[in-house]
Symmetry: C2
Subunit: 329 residues, 2 copies
């Protein structure tokens, strides 16, 4: 008792396979034909095979979203936004996780040529020549949520980290906090590098000097905790900006353990404004880098490129805003 095929339906309905296919796809057919086919379909419980269909028509109506770490709540926000847009356009969204290594991302992009999906939305942590090359050569449209060189000639949607940093520093300065430390993620990642640069610029704009800069070895809660002692060995800061919310929350735990209160002793600012910022205690003031909007825009770019692969690549920058909560005075 194996799966019925279109041929089985045709036989049961006493018509040709072509007619069945036409009815199924809503092409014109007589009243009676439609009726017979539909009866046969529901009698046999026929479901068309997506593989065979997509082999023929060349589209899968699936889109892939690749993220580095499912545990990072910023991707949750982005994923929700992407899902909404692609679902409205009639696509299924499948999510895969790549891990932090660029080689896995390259393998993923290369693998898209196998016809798994009609498009790929990728948010790479690290970018190298290989990745850019594989994206350029990819058989299906790719949109990058993040920063890749313009010469890659690919649609991108990225955040404005420097501007975000400036918002954070503005806010801290206006609260009278001018001895600012920075807890970054790995500086060899794209966001890590952007934030380091943004931090330096923002301080310069305020005529301030960084009190301390520490690099966690990952963008995770655990890494944030692990990096805290190094940061705490430097005293003399009254505020810390963290490269993302997970690091900020990790740091806040260690601050509490060291007997420091937030925001009285140390103000803490996170970045991403993910669900975690709202959930943490005290709720975390966080730079909203527009992850939902980036997701939405990226999804739209992807759909547009699937529609017309010859359009000029666009590079969208989403502007940040600041969500002030109770981790700053």
């Amino acid at each position: 008792m194996s799966r019925p095929t279109i041929a089985g339906v045709a036989r049961a309905a006493g018509v040709s396979v072509a007619s069945v296919s036409r009815v199924l796809n809503g092409l014109p057919a007589t009243e009676e034909m439609v009726e017979r086919v539909q009866r046969a379909v529901s009698e046999l419980g026929y479901v068309p095979d997506a593989r065979a269909r997509s082999l023929k028509v060349g589209r899968t109506f699936q889109l892939t979203l690749a993220v580095a770490d499912v545990g990072n709540p910023v991707y949750v926000t982005m994923m929700r936004a992407v899902e909404e847009v692609v679902a409205a356009a009639g696509y299924r969204l499948v999510v895969t996780t790549t891990g932090p290594d660029v080689v896995d991302e390259v393998a993923l992009v290369r693998g898209m040529a196998r016809g798994y999906a009609d498009g790929l939305l990728i948010s790479p942590l690290r970018v190298d020549e290989d990745l850019v090359k594989s994206i350029r050569e990819c058989e299906v449209p790719v949109v990058v949520a993040g920063n890749v060189p313009a010469k890659a000639g690919v649609d991108t949607v990225r955040a404005n980290s420097p501007k975000g940093m400036l918002l954070a520093v503005d806010h801290l300065a206006s609260c009278g906090r001018k001895r600012i430390a920075f807890l970054n993620g790995p500086a060899d990642t794209v966001p890590g590098a952007a934030r380091a640069k943004g931090f330096a610029e923002a301080l310069k704009a305020h005529n301030l000097k960084p009190v301390a800069v520490t690099e966690a070895n990952d963008f995770t809660f655990t890494a944030g905790r692990a990096a805290a002692p190094a940061l705490l060995s430097t005293r003399g800061f009254d505020a810390v900006i963290c490269a993302n919310d997970l690091l900020a929350v990790g740091l806040m735990h260690e601050l509490a353990a060291a007997g420091l209160t937030v925001p009285e002793d140390v103000a803490v600012v996170g970045m991403d404004d993910s669900e975690l910022a709202e959930q943490s205690f005290p709720p975390l003031t966080s730079v909203n880098l527009g992850s939902a909007e980036r997701g939405r825009r990226a999804a739209e770019l992807l759909l547009a490129r699937i529609e017309d692969n010859d359009r000029a690549p666009r590079r969208i920058v989403v502007q940040p805003s600041l969500s002030i909560r109770r981790s700053t005075p």
Copy 2:
């Protein structure tokens, strides 16, 4: 310049398509044949089409994991465990999110017949006749992480909520907290019902009466906050058990807003022992319902069933443990 097919490779190498396929699949071939084919493959940048391949061989080497809410950190834990097992077995894992409605889940299960994946691992929030029926009739193996009736005849891996509740109550009682309230999620869900029952039993075992029981309308942080006032309108409890970590964290925010400290005024226990429990402040004592192990076992069951679809359905129950942190005295 479209994608090269196996025929193109064959032409370029001056051999037949069969030979190309054989070389690609590692079947015996002469030194020279292998050499010629591989040169042609890398010259053309040929990548086999997974759709065509799976259409012929009947397997996609993809597995689907369907979860209700990507924002719930318990699924992150589970996802990681599942991913590890299936990747080791040579499968790709794709994740889709269903939302809280059972109709979406039914649609998803039915849709599996389209050949998207070789197996489905689903963790349904709500279960009805339709869902059970669709699972039983599903073309591909399905494993349920959660509780469905034994008569469904499907492999399941579930948590032991009542036992978990007992651990929580034991712990609270041993701390001297006996006026225990309960913040549940929707009771019309499978976990909601199980936890309500477990809570009642656990209190009875200790000869205690529930001080208050409130139902949030979802298993989320926001719902936890929203349900807090109703709970707080009943005074007189010195501990609250929450149906999951998100609810617990939501509640703790409102407790703080009401001027109550955790754990001094009110002890709080969560369930799931997700990353959030560790990240919250104070760190949340939480019942570990074995989500990682459930994910691992479920993935193993799925792989085993793909191997042999005639094996008797198994029903695995994973035992809970308690992770004591600082939200209890």
